[in-house]
Amino acid sequence: MMKKIFINISLLLTLVITFSSCKKKLADEFNNPELSTKPSIPNFFTAMLNNDRVRPAYWNLRTYLLLQPAVYSQTAAFDNASGVYQQNDGYTGNYWTDFYYASGNGSGVMALYRSIEKTYNGLSAADQATQKVFLEAAKVVLYDQTSKMVDAWGDIPFSQAGNLETNSAIKDAAFDDAKSIYTTCISGLDEAATFFGASTTASTASFKKQDILLQGSLDMWRRYANSIRLRMLMRMSFFDETTAKTAVNAMLSNSSAYPLIDGGSVANYSPASSDVLLQPLTTNQNTPLNAFTEGSSFYAPDYMLNTAMLPANDPRIPVVFDKFGKTVNNVFVPNATYKAMPITFTSDQQSNNYTSYSIVDSATFLNNLKLPGIVITAPEVNFLKAEALERWGSSSAAETAYNTAVSQSVAFYYYLNNLGGGKVTAPDAPTLAAFLNNANVAYAGTTDEKLAKIWVQKWVHFGVLQSDEAWSEYRRTKFPQLTFVTQTQNGYQLPPTRLVYPSIETAYNSHYSGAVQAKDTRTTKIFWDVK
């Protein structure tokens, strides 16, 4: 009997010992084996750059650009339907979310920036010195993307955002005033540019490898920071002209201290080496085709083709648009001329007649596997220069900048066409000169007329790929003078002047109710929208 009890007890003891060794196993099984445990500033930085909200990726084009900014700025065509001016809450919520954390399509620049910041703060002074270049570059990217958020929504959670990364805890961020965010970004970009320009800064092997945007070129980072800063200053120039004028004049009058993304002010410049373009991954397999064709976005937009480009005999037409045509008895018969459907066409007219009108170009846009994400280009910077010079400096210098910008835009679109395998030959010098002298383009007339030319041409340059910028500039300048068909849906008869906050934020952010909510209408204007 005793023996049996003894056996039992030893059996139990064995079991207890067996399970004690489980204790360690228990801790080992805690972490998900598919994920990494080590934070790394360079790797966070790459993730931040790899942003499908910057590239013309399917989701960004299909659900954000083509449904909202491109409709409100008419840089793309759209189905003439009753709800077309109503923003899609879910899709705009996706865009919003992708700014704050990676939720599927964007890189989540805010969360990654906060992670970089936090990791950086935990480093030794020596390590901080080698990693500072990542921090500063990350800041430029953050501020660039932040300005797009402000331009769409106005006040946004900014200075307190990303508390999960900063403190591993939930704390709703207050909505910062849009103007103060602009101020923060403008001065922060200046500091970053200064950092990149300092002789003591050196690019490291790690930075060159991880920088999938500019391959570690400190000069390009400096130009990028300055150019975004110029864009933001010009954007707020009707709201606070004094500040803008002072800062912009300081930049333009000292180009060695403030180098810009201006393509060396050469007309036939090289976008690949001069512009800030986010190249697709080499494994990219997706073209923008579905994004354009699932809706009616691939039709040529009326004002752009019929009013801005055709009368000017614009040399960009063959690379931006395709004549299109009909299939008759299995034979494709192209249309005789380039022409866009009138914006006033009803949806029935659109669906019956679209084959008689032009669509966007297939090599440049629809089937282009190599289409880059456009961050900022030389033509835009030269248009900004032209406006600044026209308003605050010499009109002839403005004309030079304007002509450079227009010519560079032509070069830019032929560059995109080439990337997509297009074979259209670039216009020769006489053709380009004739274009610049065409009455619709030529830099002539009153200051207002000249500014209008700058703005219309810049709008053409932005096109559908930069329709977010086109919409912002349309709201700031009220050019081009677009006509919008009034729709029947109550409350959504015309396009908004800003996006309303997505419910994904307003439902949860305790700072929303009250003053922020009171301003949250689709007709509230962004602070710089004063014209």
């Binding site: 009997m1 489980c22 099984e29 084996p33 993730a47 849906q489």
Partner: protein, 1111 residues
């Protein structure tokens, strides 16, 4: 020595007395034991207080030597035990009554510990095999509707392959799946572990559209012997965290003692049809209000001029709304180019589906001898649901065996193998119901869609703007695409799943010595899952764009494994004759592994419809995930009983879980419960009608760890193939972890009273419970600006309290007729008690740009629905704007209901007359609301009968004309022209309400304008009236009419217990508040998804027959 002598002497005297007594009075008694339908084999017939006894044979006969004064006890699982005192009978014909609940006396509790029901201090429910199988349900869980108090069942539509949710006692977890623990023959089995913390079908519109199943579907109802449901914390305390949401303990059938091996045969066959469909209007076809019709290029009525259409006009097939022309059989040109009648198709929604059928056959062989018992069973289920081209075949083999190795050692071996082939799991109608692109006209003929969703060459339908793909078969007009895509996805594309599951257990029972028993058990549950998805090329590859093709192929494999072990050492003894006790100690250990791997083509297939990974247009996509967890615990149990009427039990458990951060991964909790059979304690002073009465009280604590990996703070590493070469990028997951997470703990107290009266003709069981879950683990949704979508936190306290009442009665026994009734109802109230300071409220679901939220603030009930109301003035009048439409106040929320029911339960009646039996089960849920945005969209689109209101004079439309300023001016109803001959309309409506200046609204608007704008998508709509509906119903769930052939007739065929029955399930609603939706169509495993409809699939009604026999 003296003492020994005394003992011997006394024993001898006693022996002599016994012997002499027997010698004088022993006789043989014979008889037959029957139930209401016929003889009962295998009934244990014993003389009470002795080990003497026998069993009835196949014909229910027995013979036993007895003497006067003996009490003969008849007992059989599933029947109420009967005792008869022998006076001088020589024949004892006994009828046993089937018992549903308490009457059997034995309940299987945690870890398979069998307990006398009377000794328990907490509430349990048991459901018998008969109740689970008689109506031919393909799984046991959907057979539980209305059968156990406080147990709420929801079966996702789609039939045999769709998951079933079981919710016990309200909400115990605000985020995670909250399903009970399933234990089969002592082993914890997999239910939904493979889906991880996110569960299944919770993702809505962009999520997986196929309706997924869960693990309990694999348990064959035919193999279940009995089932106990453990509800409260005290009942489940030994299982700990695994059973935080209750436990369902299933015991499968064993070999029964009879005349050698017995073969049982069961067959069930049934047909099912889509039922309880929306009430559509069948008057108007596709079109918008007048202004929009004109804006899209049609005329006022919605006709489009078309010279190729017979009358010069054709319908507009593009609108998602139904305010177009009246359908009066006009000959018009259709979207396929043919000339057809413009006529309503009242059944077109139903016609998307087909008549389904289900067939289930089971054969088993079983036997029991003194040394071994076995039961082998094989089942085959063929299921073809209402979704066309979908189906499931399931083969189940199970072995349940026991071997007695020696007097003190026995071994039980149980093995189940389930092979399931699922072809095209049912597809949600989500993209038809929740998207305007899925809306189709009332004139749409599904027969035509069935012909046209693919071309004669087997490619997808060709839209009007892609005519080059097939000029002769291309659609000639623009349509809304989702319907045709739905047919393509469900009828052409295929998804085949093959699951092989083996779950087994081996148990060693060892009577170590007198009073001391040991039981050790190991078990496993292993599943290999594979899925092959084929997407066909939508058009010939010649029409491919430059960089992609269509079609696709995907292969997925999963290996899911649970290994389980437990050991239990129990010592029991008594102190004196009144006091017994037992002490047990044990451990339990479990590992779970889930591995999934999936590879697929990208950007289409290069060669047409060649399904192989080698045929990918782009770079293959592939993914793999591994999940593993370990849980173990030590537990102890102490029982005391006094005079078999006062019982006390205490338990404790220390458990460890790898899913919690290491510093918090071990925790401890106790429970205590007591039962007091007061009718035995105060026998003399009890009224004679009260045969049994017991009071119960219990208190328990259950800890609960985090779901797997959710509290990790880790980074996703990817190698990007960039222009700089392969570069490492590190990103953050959207749901942020928490390394300080602690287990949540549920504290529950429970009191109960049960009684049987009037010779057991009436019985009831009343339970009150109240619980608090502290440090609730919540995947807290946060504003994205926090830098993440959510964080897992211990946030606040929730709690539920409620009543459960079960009543059973035998109102009539008269000759051959007997009526038994069982009724249960449960009232539950779940509340949020507190939240941390930085969390103002919990939001479970939000829709329509936040205009509808299901949320809770501290002190509020869980499941409250809040909505932006129509704006009102100071007097409470609804405000109407200048266009004649209501103004919505988006700055304010009003409470519009609660998604949880107030009361739920069921009423089951059994009527027996001779060999006939009729079972009728009604279940109900009363109170509570449902959020259904698809119904709002359909209202706005004029789909329902209810939207005929105001559309003409007969439906209350106001008569008016449009003056030159565009204003609508009212006319007398009989007017035929305006003052200057203007056209007269009869579809006006003046919304009751006030304008901004306080005057009553007098603006006339067109009815279509009213519906179209008032119930449009988004927050600028009347969401309160459009999307929130009362959800109460009383449903006739199951009716079974059975006839058992007399054995005399069948004996010659060597058949016994031949029973034939017809049954119907989900027959009708006696009452329901939802008119255009079935209350049970919601899917998703999260509790709040049960109150939010997103358009899943129609519910069904089925009829069938069954045949049972034994050889």
């Amino acid at each position: 020595m003296q003492k020994l002598y005394e003992v011997c002497k006394r024993s001898l005297v006693l022996l002599l007395i016994i012997l002499s007594h027997s010698a004088f009075a022993q006789t043989t008694v014979t008889g037959t034991v029957t139930d209401e339908v016929g003889p009962l084999p295998g009934v244990s017939v014993t003389i009470k207080g002795t080990s003497t006894g026998t069993q009835t044979d196949v014909a229910g006969k027995f013979s036993l030597k007895v003497k006067n004064g003996d009490v003969v006890k008849f007992s059989l699982m599933g029947y109420a035990t009967k005792e008869i005192s022998i006076t001088s009978q020589s024949v004892l014909n006994v009828q046993l009554a089937q018992s549903s609940n308490e009457l059997t006396g034995v309940v299987v509790t945690s870890f398979g510990i069998k307990r006398q029901e009377r000794s328990l201090g907490y509430s349990t429910s048991t459901i018998t095999a008969k109740e689970l199988t008689e109506a031919g349900n393909t799984n046991f869980a959907s057979a539980m509707y209305g059968k156990a108090a406080g147990v709420q069942i929801s079966t996702a539509p789609g039939g045999a392959s769709s998951g079933v949710n079981v919710q016990i006692r309200g909400i115990n977890s605000v985020n995670f799946n909250g399903q009970p623990l399933y234990v089969v023959d002592g082993v914890i089995i997999r239910n939904e572990g493979q889906y991880g913390a996110n569960g299944r079908n919770n993702g809505g519109f962009y999520d997986d559209q196929r309706i997924r199943g869960n693990g309990i579907l694999d348990i064959n109802p035919q193999d279940i012997e009995s089932m106990s449901i453990l509800k409260g914390a005290s009942a489940t305390a030994l299982y700990g965290s695994d059973a935080g949401f209750g436990a369902i303990i299933i015991t499968t059938k064993k070999g029964a003692k009879g005349k050698g091996p017995t073969v049982d045969l069961n067959y069930y066959g049934s047909v099912e049809q889509a039922a309880f469909l929306p009430q559509f209007q069948n008057v108007y076809g596709q079109g918008y209000d007048r202004a929009t019709n004109l804006a899209v290029g049609a005329n006022e009525d919605g006709w489009i001029a078309d010279s190729q259409s017979p009358g010069g006009f054709r319908p507009n097939f593009r609108p998602y709304a139904e305010f177009g022309p009246k359908m009066e059989g006009q000959k018009v040109r259709w979207w396929d180019g043919s000339i057809r009648s413009y006529s309503p198709q009242p059944n077109n929604y139903k016609d998307i589906f087909r008549t389904g059928y289900s067939s289930s056959a089971n054969v088993s062989i079983s036997n029991q001898t003194d040394n071994y018992n076995y039961r082998l069973s094989a089942s085959r289920l063929d299921y073809n649901g209402i979704q066309r081209e979908s189906g499931q075949q399931k083969n189940t083999f199970s072995l349940n065996s026991g071997v007695k190795l020696s007097k003190s050692v026995s071994v039980d071996l149980i093995a189940n193998y389930v092979n399931t082939l699922t072809h095209n799991r049912p597809y949600q109608t989500n993209q038809l119901a929740a998207s305007y692109d899925g809306f189709f006209g009332r004139e749409e003929d599904m027969n035509l869609v069935l012909q046209k969703f693919q071309t004669s060459q087997g490619y997808a339908w060709v839209p009007y703007n892609q005519t080059q793909r097939n000029p002769s078969e291309a659609f000639v007009y623009n349509v809304r695409p989702n319907l045709y895509n739905y047919f393509w996805n469900t009828l052409k594309n295929t998804a085949d799943e093959n699951d092989n599951r083996l779950y087994t257990s081996a148990t060693l029972n060892w009577d170590v010595m007198k009073h001391l028993k040991f039981r050790g058990r190991i078990g496993n549950d292993f599943t290999s899952h594979s899925e092959e998805d084929k997407q066909y090329n939508q058009y010939a590859v010649a029409f491919n764009p430059d960089n992609s093709s269509t079609g696709g192929y995907q292969l997925s494999n999963g290996i899911y494994s649970i290994v389980y072990g437990d050991g239990l050492l129990a010592y029991s003894n008594n102190i004196g004759k009144d006091f017994t006790y037992s002490a047990s100690g044990g451990f339990t250990y479990r590992t779970e592994h889930y591995r999934d791997q999936s590879s697929g083509t990208s950007n289409g297939l290069v060669a047409e419809n060649f399904f192989s990974l080698s045929n990918s247009y782009g770079i293959l996509s592939t993914s793999a995930t591994r999940q593993a967890l370990i849980k173990y615990g030590y537990f102890g149990l102490l029982n005391f009983a006094y005079k078999n009427y006062l019982f006390l039990e205490g338990t404790m458990r220390q458990e460890s879980s790898s899913t919690l951060p290491p510093q918090n991964n071990t925790y401890f909790y106790p429970s205590v419960n007591a039962g007091f059979v007061f009718t035995d304690a105060f026998k003399s002073s009890m009224p004679s009608f009260l045969s049994y009465g017991k009071l119960r009280a219990s208190y328990g604590v259950v800890g609960n760890p985090a779901p797997i990996y959710k509290s990790n703070v880790l980074y996703a590493q990817t190698s990007l193939q960039s222009i700089n070469g392969s570069v490492t990028s590190l990103s953050l997951p959207g749901s942020y972890g928490n390394l300080n997470l602690m287990p949540e703990k549920k504290y529950e107290k429970e009191f109960g009273l049960e009684a049987r009266l009037f010779n057991d003709r009436l019985g009831f069981d009343v339970t009150y419970y109240s619980n608090r879950v502290k440090n609730q683990i919540i995947q807290l949704q946060v504003a994205p600006s926090n830098g993440g979508g959510s964080q897992i936190v211990n946030a606040g306290e929730i709690g539920s309290q409620g009543w459960e009442v079960a009543l059973n009665a035998t109102p009539v026994i008269s000759g051959d007729f007997k009526w038994q009734t069982r009724l249960n109802f449960a009232v539950n109230h779940s509340k949020l008690y507190s939240l941390p300071a930085n969390v103002p409220q919990l939001i479970f679901s939000q829709s329509e740009q936040n205009a509808i939220v299901v949320s809770a603030k501290p002190g509020e009930d869980l499941g409250n629905i809040y909505v932006n109301p129509i704006a009102t003035d100071a007097k409470g009048n609804k405000l109407v704007d200048g266009t004649g439409l209501y103004i919505i106040d988006n700055s304010k929320y009003v409470k519009a209901g609660n998604i949880l029911p107030k009361v739920s339960g069921g009423i089951a009646n059994t009527f027996n007359y001779k060999s006939f039996s009729l079972d009728v089960l009604v279940d109900y849920r009363l109170g509570g609301q449902m959020v259904s945005t698809p119904q709002k969209y359909a209202l706005g689109a004029g789909m329902y009968q209810s939207t005929l209101k105001y559309r003409d004079a007969a439906h209350g439309g106001v008569t008016y004309y449009v003056n030159t300023a565009g204003t609508y001016v009212q006319l007398p109803a009989n007017a035929t022209a305006g003052p200057t001959g203007e056209k007269v309309y009869h579809d006006g409506v003046i919304l009751p309400g006030a304008t901004a200046n306080g005057q009553p609204n007098s603006t006339i608007i067109q009815a279509a304008t009213y519906y179209f704008n008032t119930f449009q998508w988004g927050s600028d709509a009347d969401n309160q009236d459009g999307a929130i509906y009362n959800n109460s119903y009383v449903k006739l769930r199951e009716v079974t009419l059975g006839y058992k052939l007399p054995n005399k007739l069948t004996e010659r065929l060597h058949l016994y217990n031949l029973r034939f029955s017809v049954f119907g399930r989900n027959l009708l609603y006696f009452y329901r508040t939802l008119k255009n939706l079935d209350p049970e169509t919601t899917i998703g495993s999260q509790w709040y998804n049960q109150g939010v409809d997103n358009g899943s699939m129609p519910a069904t009604r089925s009829f069938g027959l069954s045949l049972n026999a034994s050889f």
